[in-house]
């Protein structure tokens, strides 16, 4: 392994290690915000796999998020399972949804068509949460029992460590995926799908894998949502949520894992600052997004990459 790569790896581990003592210094409100950031990291990473790495316009991220959250929530509230057991099923549910949404992509639906279709899918999922009342509590929402880890109730501080562990695992796993032949295939598909197919890459298979992984990661994030918020409501997984996820990957840097982390941190912390100026949040958000796209189109990750080559990410969306 080259010196730069080894240094990069060490730097990577520095971050979670540095974060370990953080909860001790924060009050419960700040801990909650920190937990929120950690939850949005896999949301962004999953979104980035499809939009940034595969280059496909699938706007179904919120659908995976909601499906994972409801899967976890229903298993907790209706089947009585403790939270930590529901994490994997939530991921698998998201994975299944990912495969489902890969179908139109396989049939050749692309660009804006795919975007609109996946948007419609997300809204239809929301409608089905409302209608499947016996299971989901319908529009009244689903109140969830406290999250448990091996029988241990999780408060905001403990959640921090659990979420941190999950986020680290998912980041590493995604990095492994992207550095493997799968990732190279993704890049080829993103670059020029026809050429990739012409070179003999079974694009269909890799598209499904990409979507499936995205769904899995975001589904796990959904389980984290269930643990953190403790109450599921269909309206939480709507278009506004999708816009937030757009903003996260846009501000962070589309296609970049580092970008996912940065974007999640910035866009979760920012609304908190506006809480005391009621009503101004949406305008500020829109303006911020416009400015970022104009002046920093490749996101904060590109800023870091310019500053030091150790942050360079080959998946950062090229021109």
């Amino acid at each position: 392994m080259s010196g730069a790569a080894r240094a990069g790896r060490r730097l990577f581990w520095l971050v979670p290690l540095a974060l370990l003592p953080v909860p001790l210094a924060l009050n419960p409100y700040q801990q909650f915000v920190a937990d929120l950031v950690l939850m949005y990291v896999p949301v962004a990473i999953g979104f980035n796999v499809v939009i940034g790495n595969l280059g496909l316009f699938a706007f179904s991220n919120v659908a995976y998020f909601g499906i994972g959250a409801y899967a976890s929530g229903i298993l907790m509230a209706k089947a009585g399972l403790p939270w930590w057991i529901t994490v994997l099923p939530a991921g698998l549910a998201g994975c299944g949804a990912g495969v489902l949404t890969a179908v139109p992509a396989l049939r050749g639906v692309r660009l804006f068509y795919l975007a609109i279709m996946t948007l419609a899918f997300g809204e239809l999922m929301r409608w089905s949460y409302i209608r499947a009342e016996a299971l989901t509590g319908g529009s009244m929402g689903l109140a969830l029992p406290r999250a448990l880890l091996f029988g241990w109730p999780l408060d905001d501080a403990r959640k921090f460590y659990v979420f941190l562990a999950l986020a680290v695992i998912l980041v590493i796993a995604t990095e492994r995926l992207l550095c493997s032949r799968f990732g190279r295939a993704f890049m080829a598909i993103r670059g020029n799908e026809v050429a990739a197919a012409a070179m003999g890459i079974p694009t269909g298979r890799f598209i499904v894998i990409g979507f499936a992984w995205s769904g899995f990661v975001v589904g796990v994030a959904g389980a984290m949502y269930a643990a953190l918020i403790g109450h599921l409501s269909p309206d939480s997984f709507n278009l506004s949520e999708l816009v937030l996820e757009f903003a996260i990957i846009m501000v962070g840097g589309v296609g970049s894992q580092l970008g996912s982390v940065l974007g999640a941190a910035v866009l979760t912390a920012l609304p908190q600052l506006f809480m005391s100026w009621p009503g101004s949040e949406e305008l500020a958000f829109g303006l911020l997004l416009i400015l970022v796209i104009l002046f920093l189109p490749r996101g904060l990750a590109s800023l870091l990459a310019r500053w030091h080559p150790i942050f360079r990410d080959r998946y950062l969306l090229e021109e």
């Binding site: 804006f112 279709m117 809204e123 409608w127 799908e193 796209i293 021109e319």
Partner: protein
């Protein structure tokens, strides 16, 4: 009963058609789907509201609101989209979305706590046409949209500007080669899209109270209509809009009232799965 539903559906569908048409225009001209279109319609409606409130007669306010949003669309394209034209599609889509979101935020800041109304310039009411009830609203909206369509048709077919538009639609490079100012064209098309969005917004605001969130509803219906009619097809947008409006009413009555809500989503998904090019669109799939 069916006839009543169809008539009512056509009136709604006309509004959807207008939205779909304006979005299609922008899409054809610049290949960008304006995710902020709904919020532009809302902005147009609020502009009309402010102007009427300032004492202007309705027609003048309507025309001025259209003018304002024309300028807005042009400026957005010129200063926010053109600089990033080479960026990946995702960035363009997000920019459109961000502009819409900012417009919505501005509206919320000013009018978020209250619901306001755009007063109609004509008396409310309804009359019987045979066994069918036709409301004044339905009549005015249908007429207004038809007038706009006819104007657009005349523009396209019978004027020099229309020839220019058709030329650029056919081939941008070719048009540029013969001296057409394509970048200016893009800006003007976005302006036209903005103006038509404003028209849709004002018409909508006459029948429904104004809230900053009107945009989302508008956007979804527009997408569904475009999908049904065939992306990029102008007559398709109209056909898709009307068909969507009628389906919503018919399904809503005969099957379940929830369909007035979700028909748009179902249509989008089913059409893209079964016949992606819709009714009149061109080849939509990228076969690899």
């Amino acid at each position: 009963m069916l006839l009543q539903l169809v008539v009512s559906g056509i009136a709604n569908g006309m509004l959807y058609a207008l939205i779909a048409l304006s979005m299609t225009l922008v899409y054809r001209a610049t290949t960008v789907l304006n995710f902020g279109h709904g919020d532009m319609a809302t902005a147009g409606a609020y502009a009309g509201f402010v102007l009427v409130g300032a004492g202007l007669p309705f027609i003048a306010a309507f025309a001025l609101a259209l003018g304002l949003l024309f300028a807005a669309g042009f400026l957005v394209q010129r200063f926010l989209l053109r600089p990033i034209m080479r960026a990946p599609h995702f960035a363009l889509a997000t920019m459109a979305l961000a502009v819409g979101y900012a417009l919505r935020g501005a509206a919320r800041l000013r009018w978020g706590s209250e619901i306001v109304n755009l007063p109609r310039p004509y008396p409310q009411g309804a009359f019987m046409l045979g066994p069918v009830v036709v409301t004044n609203d339905a009549l005015v909206i249908t007429a207004a949209v038809l007038v706009l369509f006819v104007l657009m048709l005349l523009l396209f077919r019978a004027t020099r500007l229309g020839r220019i538009i058709r030329a650029v639609f056919q081939t941008e490079r070719g048009a540029a080669l013969v001296g057409i100012n394509v970048p200016l064209f893009h800006g003007l098309m976005w302006g036209a899209g903005g103006a038509l969005a404003a028209a849709g917004g004002v018409l909508l605001a006459m029948i429904v109270p104004l809230t900053p969130d009107m945009g989302e509803w508008v956007l979804v219906r527009g997408f569904a209509a475009m999908t049904l009619g065939g992306f990029g097809s102008l007559p398709g947008a109209i056909a898709g809009g009307v068909l969507l409006g009628v389906s919503e009413e018919v399904l809503g009555f005969y099957v379940s009232t929830v369909f007035t809500d979700i028909t748009a989503y179902l249509v989008t998904i089913l059409v893209l799965l079964i016949r992606p090019r819709g009714l009149f669109g061109r080849q939509a799939l990228a076969r690899v």
